[in-house]
Symmetry: C2
Subunit: 514 residues, 2 copies
């Protein structure tokens, strides 16, 4: 068939190519990587973005935000905001524009081992988990049950093994820990002991930040080491849309900033409930709220690392129930991504979540729709990109594992079409057609692209119906379950060394067994 | 909760809204429609497209195409092509550019009843079935079996009921009809008696066109009526890539053109086998081949309706097997769509097909990936958009039915984000926040968007885990099977009237039972 396969027994050619491909490629040769550049999809025109920006400025200047904590009022008034008789903080246009001009153009979110740092800027795209699911989806048993700290740890361990999951924002809450302080501290422990990748958490009370920092300093090897490379960021739901500060969460944010922890300025309005029902309107409000947050952050500490977190969600307007798997949702997140580019600021939004209860065909199409649109629009941080079901209520390991394949494909699309003399291939066409073999199989040009250009699914099935039948008609979910059990059956590479672990356990009430 | 729901018993509000939504909307009020404008996704820059164009012209001028039939050689040489000593037809740049300049900027593909005509131009997007699957997928039995003429008829009947399937290119071959001539004639009968939507077929031999036209004239009510509104087009695989004419298929094409049947100039190379392995190279070759076809068509009959059919497919380079569900495939088709825009000519490509054997999560993500990218890139005809599995070998009714939901969502994304004073909603935000209810639920602005802006899935599930459990945890595929049985249990609205049917049956050997 070709020179390369002829050098091995014929029946071994295919198997040999499979084996060659199975060997891990060095990072720089991989067809997809974290931080690939999106931006080829632009749901908003330049004028659209200018109008959204103008509307957000209008809203900030004339409507403003209520419910800032006293400390926040002080910061914001000192920065140039006006406190109205109605208790609302209003933002002069010049202050907002000045803050945008001086804001960070990039933020680095560190990994614990330095191998998977995330450089957020421009159109660089990263996918990861996120959320606050309250249930675990048992895909085999078709059942929902409360999520636990062990589930969270297991999720982190699985993410550690998935190339296309670039960060681990905690996707579910530990419902087996009743005390909120213990839950927050165990959340950090469970994630950090499961993965080296960048971690996201979310504090429920400002007073929990100090003990968490104590734990993080222990893990980092000292406060200076932590401040040099903070490997945990905080998702701050600093607003309660529409246009109200979340008082306690703002206090959390102040604590995080002072402790050197990057913050995600998370505005999670629901279009039709807590945000306008129009896509443009929901983007306007989220943009306004996040710009308010940006002024706040920079008033606390100029240049503190903050990610713009415009996370408007969709709603099923017939029922008033949240809906995150819709086309409207995909447009909301992609439109937000473009506004981040408009401001040239690092940003994130939610995509890849499904309304389906199980990892079925609906889950596949919903997860791909918003994930691909987020990636193509150049979203820096695609949160909730894998494993999320039931409109954010359930997290599913099988879906997470299959999500790695799904996101790999999305990343291939984000990488896009390379056009140069080599790829245009006119010489190749001539060589093949004019006296050549009449096909491209096995040419050096083709074999050279086999690994560098093509993404192969890990569990996605490409067999012929005949091969598939011979293999016993493998079930996609059963294969994902097997992979899950394989990963969880192995020791966690990110586990703390025993001495550190003992110190943490003597200082904190750690729920995970040692 | 809001003024509108208060007017009915509280528990009835949600049910009432569901019921209101269940009533069919008039076409012009629907949130999605055939022909929505894409084009917000541009995988190729202007310079990229110019380079691809230049490379295609190079290939046509220096490599040319082999194997034209004698009639084709006459047409092409008369038009200005050169026949080389090597038997290849080469195309001077000026001739190709002149043909492009004079080519149709739009093509109408007619429906039989005038209700679902397709206007192909600019970025207008339409989704439909296509292909030549040899198997039917039994989703419940997890089995593949030979496809039959009854399956084809049933597929047409199902498509007739699905709003987001805009045309019915025959998706599978009738393997229970051994004689090719009978198969081609029964293909047309089975499709036309199942749907009023525009139909695509593909003739295996030039001599079958004449009897097929006889049948189509009978169905249309005369040759003049047929020529006025030809409701069947022919998918012409007029090339055998790389760069060879398919001799017989070219003869078929000549017959179709003379009979007033629109043709799809279909170039179906496989990247890495019959086309270069690079995405750009595969697009160059497909573009060159289709431009050759365009010169051919216009040499036979200037201005004859032709759709540019750059259909490069992906390959799994490890195994040499076709792969249509990959990110590479999505890029191939989206890149081709952009080349159609570059030429401002109506075009189609393949998207939405899956490598998965069953309608599972993989099928969902693969089908959405290329369908959404094709739509966003403004592809006029998205062929193979629903129901196709096993890398085009299998067609599945459940998947087709679920594809209607999937494509509805894709169309919502194609429709995009409307930005105007109304949708920017600053007044609404002010009203809600400043002395208003503090939320947008039930406001007139929200309720007004409920039907006009939001696409609701027919079978896609949005229940909460609790509701879902109460409903007995409905299975997505089982629901699709029930819908299939419901549709096929009803009489076909497109069935011929008995007199016409009797005349057709007396003239042709029709395999479908009367």
């Amino acid at each position: 068939m070709n020179d390369h396969s002829r050098s091995t027994p014929r029946s071994g050619g295919r198997a040999a190519r499979r084996a060659a491909r199975a060997a891990a490629l060095p990072e720089h040769l991989r067809p997809v990587r974290p931080g690939l550049e999106g931006g080829t999809y632009e749901p908003l025109g330049q004028q659209d973005m200018e109008r959204i920006h103008a509307a957000a400025l209008d809203a900030l200047e004339t409507i403003g935000l209520a419910d800032a904590p006293p400390s926040g009022i002080d910061y914001l008034v000192s920065a140039g905001c006006a406190l109205g008789d109605d208790g609302r903080i209003r933002f002069p246009r010049a202050l907002v524009e000045d803050t945008i001009a001086r804001a960070n153009r990039s933020v680095t979110l560190y990994s614990r081992d330095g191998k998977t740092d995330l450089e957020l800027s421009g159109n660089r795209v990263h996918y990861g988990t996120a959320g606050a699911a309250v249930s675990m989806v048992d895909a085999q048993g078709r059942n929902y049950r409360d999520s636990t700290v062990q589930d969270l740890h297991d999720a982190a361990r699985i993410c550690e093994q998935l190339d296309n999951i670039h960060f681990v924002q905690r996707p579910m809450v530990c419902r087996d820990i009743a005390d909120n302080r213990e839950m927050d501290l165990n959340t950090i422990y469970a994630c950090c002991s499961g993965t080296y990748k960048h971690i996201g958490t979310s504090f429920t009370d400002p007073s929990y930040v100090a003990p968490a920092m104590e734990m993080l300093h222990m893990i980092a090897g000292g406060e200076d080491k932590w401040r040099e490379r903070p490997f945990v960021s905080n998702s701050n739901c600093f607003v309660v849309p529409p246009m109200k500060f979340a008082t306690e969460s703002c206090q959390v944010m102040e604590e995080c900033i002072k402790a050197g922890m990057p913050v995600l300025l998370l505005s999670a309005g629901m279009a039709g409930a807590t945000a306008p029902s129009t896509i443009a309107g929901a983007i306007v409000q989220a943009t306004a709220e996040c710009l308010a947050g940006l002024v706040y952050v920079n008033a606390v500490s100029p240049g503190a690392p903050a990610v713009i977190g415009t996370w408007p969600f969709g709603l099923d307007l017939r029922t008033g129930a949240m809906s995150v798997g819709s086309g409207e949702q995909a447009l909301l997140s992609a439109g937000c991504a473009q506004m981040h580019k408009f401001y040239d600021m690092p940003g994130g939004a939610a995509a890849g979540a499904s309304d389906a209860k199980l990892p079925d065909m609906q889950a596949g199409w919903e997860q791909m729709c918003s994930n691909i649109m987020a990636g193509l629009s150049g979203l820096n941080m695609v949160y909730e990109a894998a494993g999320m079901h039931a409109s954010l209520l359930g997290f599913c390991f099988e879906s997470l594992i299959l999500g790695d394949d799904l996101i790999g494909q999305a990343l291939r699309c984000v990488r896009g079409i390379e056009v140069n003399d080599d790829t245009l291939a006119v010489d190749q066409i001539a060589e093949v057609c004019l006296g050549g073999p009449g096909h491209y199989l096995g040419t050096d040009a083709t074999l050279g692209r086999m690994q560098a250009d093509y993404v192969y699914p890990t569990l996605g099935d490409r067999t012929s119906p005949k091969e598939w039948a011979e293999l016993g008609k493998p079930d996609l979910i059963a294969r994902a379950t097997a992979r899950k059990e394989e990963i969880l059956g192995q020791p966690s590479p990110a586990r703390f060394d025993p001495a550190l672990d003992a110190r943490i356990r003597s200082r904190f009430n750690i729920h995970l067994p040692a």
